[in-house]
Amino acid sequence: MDQILIQTVNGLVNGLILALVASGLTLIFGIMDVVNFAHGDLVMLGGFVGAATMGTTGNFWLALAVAALVIAVFGAALQVTTLRPLLGRDPLTTILATFGVSLVLQKYAIWQWGPTARKIDEPITGQFALFYLQYPWYRIGAAICAAAIIGGLYAFLKYGKYGVWIRATMQDRIMAAAMGIPVPRVHMLVFAIGAAMAAASGVFFGPVGGVTQTMGFDFTLRAFIVVVVGGMGNLGGSILAAIFISLLEAYASLVVSPAQAVIASFVMLIVTLLFRPTGLFVPTPK
């Protein structure tokens, strides 16, 4: 029983960090129909930039801010140069383009930071007794921060001028443009936000799992499963789905090894596509 409760906590923690990644991905898809295969590599880059900043300054929060900012700017530049020209083309083109970007980013990371993994030190050390385990405070802290960022995203979308622009563009890009909303700029903004959140996840994940050049793929994969299960373009759905999938994997790893537990996520993906392809957490389309 204790094991289940511990896994519940694990699932929630991982789920919130995954939600950070997935919500960026679903926003990007929802607004410009881009399937961003490089999203996990933005997580990876964020982790590396964060680790490098940590290395020079020793300040975790500064590393988080710098990583988010740098990757946001990078993401914006990426969108303008690589993805904007592809707008309106068939989805396969953007998949191939972002896949190519993913490969480039991975090689760049090796070139820039060498082949060794990096570690980011926890800003909050110490553990507390969670049932029979010593559970790191950091993880709880990271989950709370992730939740706060997601909450901030919600507020940003709901209030404020840019929030309205983004929501309008997501619903009807053409009418939004006809209302004077600078749609190309909105696309760039959303990509930057998505990239920043991905980078933040990378920094949060750093103390937990280290930063390696190939970590991006796992994040991309899981984020995609979450986005499909949660409903593509559906922000609330992807957050719920992230927690749901992470809980599922956490429970599954009680029975099988964690590496095999990811099978549970794939099963969920297949189930969703078979029975409710628009998303498990989306109200039935009329």
Partner: protein
């Protein structure tokens, strides 16, 4: 103020506009009549930059605008109310209106002033200001679409079949709205299949057939002698 000269537009290989020439003067209400499929909507979509003309010129206040992006055209004063209204269904009524207000150079005071003015003209929108756009009835959505366009403080509004699918009572309301806009000095290019409304509201009328303008006349002339209209719109 707005002039199209010999505009040709294609959808893929389909040649829809075969050389359309139309102009709208400042403050004028110009009607564009024609049966289904003659290219009336395509003409409007070409003006607002949703589809690029393959040939011909479009000028607004003297400058060429063909090829400009839709959001730029909205900001220089061309507003579009499409045939299916295209309300942002998940945004509230006030958020829908807001999409036209968040332009550079609009102070908070002016914003409030514009909102007040539109709520005064459309009290039902004030009543429903916090409701999602998708919950409004067809007629209310049409009013919202027009009100939203007014938020751009446009010099010209392109209205695509505003009375389609509306009950007669609502059609009368649309007529009043068009007349009110006219009094405010806003030019209107009104695409319609409803002949009496168009005859009543317009200063001048163009009649299109098969992608070209076949006839143009002052509305007064056509009111007096409707045989041309019967020829191109009747059976």
């Amino acid at each position: 103020m707005l002039a199209l000269q010999n505009v040709h537009t294609y959808y893929g290989k389909s040649h829809i506009l075969h050389g359309v020439t139309i102009d709208v003067g400042p403050g004028e209400v110009v009607g564009l009549l024609g049966r289904n499929g003659v290219g009336k909507s395509t003409t409007l979509k070409t003006i607002v930059g949703l589809v690029r003309p393959a040939d011909g010129q479009i000028t607004f206040e003297g400058r060429p605008i063909a090829g400009m992006a839709p959001h730029q055209l909205a900001r220089i004063g061309i507003a579009w109310v499409p045939e299916d209204r295209r309300i942002f269904k998940l945004l509230t009524v006030s958020e829908n209106l807001r999409t036209g207000l968040d332009r550079p150079g609009v102070t908070e005071a002016r914003r409030q002033g514009l909102l007040e003015k539109v709520y005064a003209s459309f009290p039902i929108l004030r009543q429903r200001r916090d409701q999602a756009g998708g919950t409004l009835s067809g007629g209310e959505q049409q009013m919202l679409a027009i009100a939203r366009a007014m938020m751009l403080e446009p010099k010209i509004i392109l209205l695509d079949e505003p009375t389609e699918g509306l009950m007669p009572r609502m059609v009368a309301q649309i007529r009043e709205i068009v007349q009110a806009l006219h009094r405010d000095g806003v030019a209107i290019l009104l695409v319609e299949q409803n002949v009496p409304l168009t005859l009543d509201a317009s200063d001048r009328i163009y009649i299109m057939e098969k992608g070209v303008v076949r006839h143009q006349a002052p509305a007064a002339d056509l009111r007096a002698d409707q045989s041309v209209i019967h020829q191109y719109l009747g059976v």
